[in-house]
């Protein structure tokens, strides 16, 4: 994997836009993490350093924030990230079966990435669609009322 070391002009422009909205630079750090993750998929140590430099904060201070949140990825993820809801309504409605099926199909458990880098599977707290449980999200797409027969078709849509 090629690790990009410095921020691209595009990233800088987007980050600077966020900086302009807040009273001091550092306050834009979560936005900056999101922007870089959007472009690169995850936040490598090098990305972290470049963002910290741009925001005039230490890597420690930035990583302290980055590691607090669930969805800042500090490790590389696959091309597609499956977020399977494991919260209560999905539990009641049987997410465990869906999980078993994913494991069976993709041979990955929570926190793992397929060797071909196609999928990363992560557990996720309530997706806020409890009346249509069980649910999962792949990248930005939400799938609800999941059944075992629909799952394969859904997964096949991602490469």
């Amino acid at each position: 994997m090629i690790i990009q070391e410095t921020l691209t002009p595009e990233e800088i422009e987007e980050i600077d836009h966020e900086i302009a909205l807040v009273p001091y630079r550092k306050a834009a750090c979560i936005e900056a993490l999101k922007i870089v993750q959007h472009h690169r998929g995850w936040i490598s140590d090098e990305s972290l350093q470049s963002i910290a430099d741009h925001l005039e904060m230490s890597v420690e201070e930035l990583d302290s924030v980055a590691t607090f949140y669930n969805l800042v990825f500090r490790k590389p993820v696959g091309r597609n990230v499956i977020l399977l809801c494991d919260s209560i309504s999905c539990y009641v409605m049987g997410y465990e079966k869906i999980y078993a099926q994913i494991r069976d199909r993709l041979h990955i458990s929570f926190g793992e990435t397929t060797p071909d880098g196609r999928f990363t599977l992560l557990p996720n707290a309530c997706l806020g669609t409890c009346d249509h449980a069980p649910a999962l999200m792949i990248n930005n797409e939400l799938y609800r009322d999941l059944t075992e027969d629909r799952l394969d078709e859904i997964l096949n849509g991602y490469h």
Partner: protein, 423 residues
Amino acid sequence: METPLTQHISSDRPPYNLRDYEKVGGYQALRKALTTMTPAEVTKLVQESDLKGRGGAGFNTGMKWSFVPMTDGTPIKYLIANADEMEPGTFKDRMLMEGNPHQFIEGMIISAYAIQANISYIFLRWAYKKAGRLLLHAMEEAYAAGYLGKNILGIGYNLEMHLHTGVGRYICGEETALLNALEGKRATPRTKPPFPQVSGLFGKPTIVNNVETFCNIPHIIQNGAQWFKDLSKGSDAGTKIYGISGRVKKPGLWELPMGVTMRELIEVHGGGMANGYEFRGALPGGASTDFLVKEHLDVKLDFKSVAAAGSRLGTGTMIILDDHTCPVGFVHNLEHFFAQESCGWCTPCREGLPWTEKTLLSIERGEGRPEDLDLLDMHTKYLGPGNTFCALAPGAMEPLQSALKYFREDFEMHITQKKCPWR
């Protein structure tokens, strides 16, 4: 039956754009408030309407606003919509934002005017991608129409609105943790006092309200306090977005008069339990409320009555426990969530919740010991309000303590049989 909040929401079509929203009377309340009422009058009206916060705690909204210092000395103030909605089992704000974003934005503008805030934020849960797109579009329209931005309706009032999407953590929904998240910090909660109304976002006076709370504002302005009170069947004013998830025939959301009974909600609106499933209990308002059981089916779902029954109305979105689901597994799932989402700041929550979770898991796996129940009781006793830094851990104890009360024999069965009877 009036359904002011959802009257213009339909799942069959996209939400109203600005023009259509205006056609059905949208932004009239804003016009009324800004051109005919002083900020203090708006606050007073909302206070009189007895609108209670729909984010879970049920505090009088107008009263909350009235603590914001209104002297000239504090020029920067913020208004924030809490659209984090991460409480498991809760999905009402999504519907309000996806169904009618302008109603929500109009409510925010009026509220910001009431406290004379010039900057507002929507703190949106990251997973609500669609709501995010719709809100951005609606905000653009509102800016273009002069409802946002400089000199709104020509009265010299300015308001900026920003959309901030979170990066995932239940605690961001706690209003003071939310402030830290917006400041680009770790979302650990802050102590109160000082209240955000005095020292909030970036140290400035700030109001945080729930999405549903804001959606009520235009209607109160248009129709008055008494009308709002009269909407209700129970002891709290207005309508409420109720919801059900779990094994009922028709899970979903309904706007109903405040104070509808649990029975009506489940049997009439939810269509009753799904075939082959029996009702054992329900969390009436999200994951951090106490179980209500069969004997409570006639309890009115308003803040007061639910509290009298030993639980909380919370978010009003109910999660049903059926007879095919293991209560221990159910509670374990919840405590797993809470333990994961503890921010790690205070001892009882950071250490107590994982212990609770491990204990429940071991009981669920048939490895529990009789004294484990004492440990669980101890946690419910000591992770109460005031003992922890914020309300997360006390909330986490609510389903557990009531499960230990109502389903104790299920716990004991796991321990004596050394297995989960449901597996």
